[in-house]
């Protein structure tokens, strides 16, 4: 009997140790993503000039309202980083009225996802029941997280369609969980990565 108990305790202790094994991200930066895609029939190498607005459109989801722009505190370093990367690949910035080969159009938005939580069961939302471990006051534990996305689109104005639409030749999106303080550096790192993983953008 004693041996059986010891054996059970040995097996049980192994299972108890499972809880000590941590998984998942430790830092906000580990959730940063950079996506890019391009038209592989487009000849980037033969282009050389680009234009870019001096503001970044804030996508609000309301197409009827006046356009909103993100604060220059954030927009300026972002635009400067984009320009630095374009210069490094051989591109020259020109005014939008100077017939640029391509136009870069940056846009940004934030999304907040609300996660309705519960403790031990949905009934714990409403009643001070015994919820698997103690008595609790009624509450609705709700958490949320916000992500920021910077979308960078490159179009060729010389390929404008009859309906006025411009073909996208390259696009990149940087997405990450918003935090305080270091977000702008993370966005700049994302821009660097977007260009790094798009070597075909290099011009002659």
């Amino acid at each position: 009997m004693r041996k059986k108990l010891i054996a059970l305790m040995l097996v049980g202790s192994q299972f108890a140790l499972w809880g000590c094994y941590l998984e998942g991200p430790d830092y906000t930066e580990e959730l940063d993503l950079v996506y890019s895609n391009y038209n592989n029939k487009y000849d980037f190498a033969s282009q050389g000039t680009y234009s870019i607005p001096d503001q970044i459109v804030k996508v609000t989801g309301d197409p009827t309202g006046p356009p909103e722009y993100i604060s220059p505190i954030y927009a300026t370093p972002i635009l400067n980083e984009i320009k630095a990367q374009m210069t490094a690949l051989g591109w020259q910035e020109v005014d939008v009225n100077a017939n640029p080969d391509v136009q870069l159009m940056p846009a940004a938005w934030t999304t907040t996802t609300i996660v309705g939580g519960y403790y031990g069961g949905y009934y714990c939302w409403w009643y001070p029941y015994y919820c698997g471990g103690g008595w609790y006051y009624p509450y609705t534990p709700v958490s949320s997280y916000s992500t920021g996305t910077l979308l960078l689109t490159m179009v060729d104005p010389n390929l404008q369609a009859i309906d006025g639409s411009l073909p996208v030749v390259w696009t990149s999106a940087m997405n990450g969980l918003l935090s305080s303080g270091t977000d702008i550096n993370r966005v700049k790192d994302g821009i660097k990565q977007a260009f790094k993983q798009s070597p075909y953008l290099k011009t002659n």
């Binding site: 041996k3 054996a7 059970l8 040995l10 094994y21 998984e23 959730l31 940063d32 950079v34 996506y35």
Partner: protein, 195 residues
């Protein structure tokens, strides 16, 4: 598929009917998962796993039974760029897999009644494989039941008249389905058998 179900049912019914007349054992084992083609997805060893076995001995040399297990695999893939066609995606990946093998089994014991009793076994059944990849705040999930076979070798070490230590190595081989590729992994089990 119908043939596979018939074999599984025959083994199950045989196990239950023989159980009324023969010795039975129950076992709980700690399971390490490693190797096999699951390495293409997660290279880390699974340190979280368990196996439960119920066996019936119609003769001292032979057992039939059922077992069920679980292994959790996890790996953090360092920041990297993944490219498909013209698309590229960079980020840190967190990969998870849960494998739940359920088998009807039969084993042959080489030295029954002795202190150390090696055995060879075979299992037929299924492996439920749940895999998901987290990248950013996004998750891609894939879940599938696979038909599976399991060869096994191990040893029983008698500790007491009613208890053995078991050490076993098995190869869980889950065959391809119409939607997913075949997947396999080794399981090293250590635990106790109660008679």
């Amino acid at each position: 598929m119908i043939m596979k179900k018939k074999i599984f049912l025959m083994l199950l019914v045989g196990t239950i009917s023989v159980g009324a007349f023969a010795q039975t054992t129950f076992s709980i084992q700690y399971s390490l998962g490693f190797g096999g083609t699951i390495n293409d997805y997660i290279t880390s060893t699974s340190v979280r796993g368990a196996t439960f076995e119920y066996k019936i001995y119609p003769s001292p040399n032979i057992s039939i039974g059922i077992d069920a297990g679980w292994n959790h695999f996890y790996e953090r893939r360092a920041y990297d760029t993944y490219t498909a066609g013209t698309m590229s995606l960079s980020g840190v990946q967190f990969r998870y897999a849960n494998a739940v093998p359920i088998f009807a089994t039969t084993s042959y014991y080489l030295k029954p009644g002795e202190k150390i009793n090696p055995y060879l076994g075979l299992g037929i059944g299924t492996v439920f494989m749940s895999r998901f990849v987290d990248m950013g705040v996004f998750r891609v999930t894939e879940e599938e039941w696979h038909f599976a076979l399991k060869p096994e070798a191990g040893v029983l070490v008698n500790l007491a008249p009613d208890m053995d230590l078991i050490l076993g190595l098995r190869y869980n081989n889950a065959f391809a389905t119409s939607d997913t590729d075949a997947i396999s992994y080794m399981m090293f089990n250590v635990g106790f058998v109660w008679k």
